[in-house]
């Protein structure tokens, strides 16, 4: 874990309300794992007060990328950062996606939940994987850093009309459940649907959970999640953000 100022190298819009910020890294990026995140201080005064967590979206040479959607004050401030400005990162934080030996890998991204998958895809080069990217409408769609992408959209403006679960359902028709693993990232509503969908289907599935966070490294107890294997809550920032979908109460 480090706390360090990073210098903005680029900050571009890649889809509606969606940006990709690239930072020159002072630290060695070799050991970073897909699914990990950094807690980012978006301004150097205390407004907003808390850091904002963002998954590692990509790493190219000595640059680290975060993909983010403007949803409030913090992400809006981030979107105004210009090349040369500094922002402070705390991390890397959290656990990572578990790459096991499955024949088929499906990466499920709901909205900005797609963020960790460019980096993750790179670790899957030799594997048979597809990215299922669910959006509301085609303006939100992009394929930055992604290969083998299938889209679903709520309004049918791109890919399959429906949710990313509908798309998943279609894909799974041709796959052997036991040889397939799903990695999902998106809003809780999507996870709830996914959890329900997977009942009675023998498919492994890891999800990257979101939560309001203060610290991001386990000292505030602000990010609990109910977990089947534990009497006490697990912490999303420290025990997660990646969990087996069957072990958590969403």
């Amino acid at each position: 874990m480090i706390i360090e100022d990073f210098v903005v190298d680029s900050n571009i819009k890649i889809a509606e309300n969606t940006f990709l910020i690239g930072l020159n890294s002072q630290i060695n990026l070799d050991n970073l794992q897909p699914g990990q995140f950094f807690n980012i201080q978006v301004s150097n005064n205390h407004f907003p007060l808390l850091r904002r967590p963002f998954s590692i979206s990509d790493i190219i040479d000595d640059k680290i990328y975060f993909m983010y959607k403007i949803v409030g004050e913090g992400t809006s401030i981030l979107s105004h950062k210009k090349k040369g400005e500094k922002i402070n990162l705390l991390g890397p934080l959290g656990n990572n996606f578990n790459v096991s030996n499955f024949e088929n890998i499906l990466l499920l991204g709901g909205g900005i939940g797609i963020a960790p998958f460019p980096f993750f895809s790179k670790k899957l080069v030799n594997k048979n994987f597809k990215v299922l990217f669910g959006v509301r409408t085609k303006n939100e769609a992009h394929n930055y850093g992604l290969k083998n992408v299938l889209f679903s959209s709520e309004d049918g403006s791109i890919g399959k009309k429906g949710t990313v679960i509908d798309l998943l359902d279609e894909e799974l028709k041709n796959l052997d459940f036991e040889k397939t693993k799903i990695y999902a990232c998106g809003p809780n509503a999507m996870f709830r649907a996914l959890q329900k969908y997977l009942i009675n289907k023998n498919i492994e599935c890891e999800v990257s959970m979101e939560s309001a966070m203060a610290c991001g490294f386990g000292i505030c107890q602000g990010c609990p999640v109910e977990h089947n294997h534990s009497e006490s809550y697990k912490l999303i920032c420290k025990d997660g953000p990646i969990f087996n979908i069957r072990e958590i109460v969403i």
Binding site: H46, A214, S232, Y233
Partner: protein, 306 residues
């Protein structure tokens, strides 16, 4: 490294510097020890411990507010047994000055906790949390009941010779009366303040942003209130005060000390900058040099009011 004497006394409690880490904002020290050397900090206060472990409140537990945050953690903690077995040895190894914060649902539970923990040599003092706004019992019920605070103080006092600090609630109109009672019943110091009761709602779903509905407000937003409470106590009662509330940098520490605090605690800032305590100590040294102060304790209550 520096000729400035940063040590302070909080009643019988001797600290190498006035910077303490506040209860509930550094867990039991393990995570933050990756960023700072805990042996260099005045003291670390544990997350509130209770007799049995507590699961705490369901999510969502925190939300941000203008220059502040609301939390309703609900005193999540591992319980005394686990604390003694696994947490104390770690803190002992780090050579940190350990103050144990205790929360309980009854006066008897406070007493029992202190009795059990008093034998632990690593524990250098107790901070009794009678002011958590986020649990039904042992929280504001005690914190706003002056008789209960008196009783807790005297009964706990009877069980320990270690420094005894009572952490006061700001959600009252006369905090100094509480400090008065603490002094009368043998408490060594008070810490002020715990969080202010606050809430926040989502205007589209109309549900509270925090599952517990209300939470405790901390961070820079509450600093002026915290300073006023410290001042009120210091003007009315002769008891050492540990100032808490919204401290972000060394300037805030100086402000609390000028107003009347013998030491301070850092809370929310640890989440944003876990190295803050170290940077603050450096800042204090510079300030002392710049203003020709040799002993930082000279700052305490040095306010000038015409």
């Amino acid at each position: 490294m520096s000729e400035i004497d940063l040590s302070v006394n909080v009643g019988p409690l001797k600290l190498k510097n006035p910077i303490m880490l506040a209860s509930g904002t550094v867990g039991y020290g393990n995570e933050i020890s990756e960023f700072i050397d805990l042996s260099k900090i005045g003291a670390i206060i544990t997350k509130s411990i209770s007799l049995k472990s507590r699961k705490g409140n369901p999510p969502q537990r925190i939300t941000e507010t203008p220059s502040g945050m609301l939390n309703a953690i609900g005193l999540t903690n591992v319980g005394i047994e686990e604390f003694i077995k696994n947490k104390i040895p770690f803190l002992e190894k780090l050579n940190s000055t350990l103050i144990c914060n205790i929360a309980a649902s009854s006066i008897d539970e406070y007493v029992e906790c202190v009795e059990i923990l008093d034998t632990q040599e690593t524990i250098k003092g107790f901070e009794i949390n009678v002011s958590c706004p986020n649990v039904r019992e042992g929280g504001l019920i005690f914190g706003n009941d002056i008789n209960a605070v008196g009783k807790i103080t005297s009964k706990v006092r009877a069980k320990t010779k270690k420094p005894l600090i009572i952490k006061l609630s700001p959600n009252t109109s006369n905090i100094f009366s509480f400090a008065e009672v603490v002094k009368k019943e043998g408490g060594d110091a008070v810490s002020a303040i715990n969080t202010l009761v606050g809430t926040s709602f989502n205007i589209f779903t109309k549900i509270p942003k925090i599952k517990n509905v209300t939470g405790g407000l901390s961070g820079p937003a509450i600093k002026p209130v915290a300073l006023a409470k410290v001042l009120e106590i210091n003007r009315n009662v002769d008891i050492p005060i540990i100032g808490i509330g919204g401290i972000m940098d060394w300037k805030d520490v100086v402000e609390f000390m000028i107003v009347g605090a013998s030491a301070v605690q850092l809370g929310t800032v640890n989440f944003i900058n876990p190295k803050a305590s170290f940077e603050i100590i450096d800042g204090l040294i510079n300030y002392c040099k710049q203003t020709s102060i040799n002993k930082i304790s000279d700052l305490i209550s040095s306010r000038i009011i015409e």
